[in-house]
Amino acid sequence: MSVQLPIYLDNHATTRIDPRVLEAMMPYLTDVFGNAGSRNHSFGWKAQAGVERAREQVASLIGADAKEIVFTSGATESDNLALFGVARFYKDKGRHIVTALTEHKAILDSCHALEKEGFEVTYLPVDKDGSVSPEAVAAALRDDTILVSLMWANNEVGTVNDIAGIGKICRERGVFFHSDAVQGIGKMPFDVAAMNVDLVSISAHKMYGPKGIGALYVRRGRPRIRLEPLVFGGGQERGLRSGTAAVHQIVGLGAACAVAQQGLAEGESDRIRALRDRLWDGLRANLDELYLNGSWERRLPGNLNVSFAFCEGEAMMMAIKDLAVSSGSACTSASLEPSYVLRAMGVDVELAHTSIRFGVGRFNTEAEIDYAVKLVTEKVGWLREMSPLAEMVKEGIDLKSIEWAAH
């Protein structure tokens, strides 16, 4: 079976829009162009109906009520709204927030900004797999803790946190719990009630929907979460997020959630996991000195993050340019520092430079995976031939025994 090149294996970065999603969106870019806020004519009513249907579709995927869904411009805004919104509203109740070192920058940068506003933030360390245990959360809670923010699945290594366990502790202690769940939503079952999560960030483009749209789930039941808004204006989204509704985008997010919900019921995750396993099995059969980053058991179905010893990540990506992947190598970042997630997990800095993240998704095929295994095998061999480190190890030299000159 032939494959079309290049092959997209970077589905944690973004995903292709599902044709069913695009189809649902199209009328809202043409005939149904009304402002969902126009209450006095059919153009507005039709737009509003599209928005409200989407709200139900999003809510349904996570076991929420439609009234608990706030549309935003994406997960970064959702994360910002959750953190700033809770912190500023409840600042008289307490000023302590708990998060982790491996969170997305949308969380970490928001926390840094909140520190300047006088909040105190605890950045929990992670274990070697990159996860935070409920016990570690419990130990970090204080009388003045108002919010815990921990991601569901990590975007680099795919490690899945025990959200239900953490949620249970937060509920018992009366602390609000936010989760950036963008990597996992639509790929694994999620239920806000069973997991005791109070705020959830969702992104459309990570689940085969359009870019520029996301949602924040905000619990209205017990406890009811109040937020200080970040965007002011016409009072849309119950005053939590002003601005004319991006109807076609919202409809796209809703459709993406509906398609994902159907996929979950039909076992799509098992199919993607099988492709990911095929990739890992193929690589392991052909190559030695491979190091898996993150937990194997508690992992996103489509994620594979591997360090290919002696092959620097950026050089590797140039060598396998027919595959779109990403790397935790320093040379792919502007800062020239390797991945902060891998570092927090205690991965050797040498190995962090050689890490490659594969993100298998809905549209990948077995033929593509087989092609990837063949190409990576060949190029790792080529790079290791060129690597002085591989040569030294072959000669029996312990690389740690050498006094390298840092530069």
Binding site: F310, C311, E312, G313, E314, A315, M318, S329, A330, C331, T332, A334, L336, P338, V349, E350, H353, E385, M386, S387, P388, L389, A390, E391, L399, W404, A405, A406, H407
Partner: protein, 134 residues
């Protein structure tokens, strides 16, 4: 990273990859960089009695521009005198490859590798002459 065609060419078709006998008297070996920094270059030069660099080989662990810088520098020094090689500076390499600013350190590493290899060669030669003088 958007690289120049020259970097891509040297990366995809690296010149003079390999190793020379590091124990040979006429071979100088330079090993620079550090695995923790994401790049290590090994450059070896075979230098004859007249001080001419007869052969140059490299092995590099590093990004595309580190590999390209190593490859280019082997081409630059082959057939040239030791003095010429010592005069090569990183700016020449960076300009030839049109390296982006964030990758300038790769060209510095290549310059350092040449200097380290020649220093190693000179050290070997001194050590060899020492017993003769006694």
């Amino acid at each position: 990273m958007a690289y120049s065609n020259k970097v891509v060419d040297h990366y995809e078709n690296p010149r003079n990859v390999g190793s020379l006998d590091k124990n040979a008297d006429d071979v100088g070996t330079g090993l620079v960089g550090a695995p923790a920094c994401g790049d290590v270059m090994k450059l070896q030069l075979k230098i004859n009695e007249d001080g001419i660099i007869e052969d140059a080989k490299f092995k590099t662990f590093g990004c595309g521009s580190a590999i390209a810088s190593s490859s280019l520098v082997t081409e630059m020094v082959k057939g040239k005198t030791v003095d010429f090689a010592l005069g090569i500076n990183n700016a020449q390499i960076a300009e030839e490859l049109k390296l982006p600013p964030v990758k300038i350190h790769c060209s510095v590493l290549a310059e350092d590798a040449v200097k380290a290899a020649i220093a190693d060669f000179k050290k070997k030669r001194e050590a060899k002459r020492q017993p003769v003088a006694e």
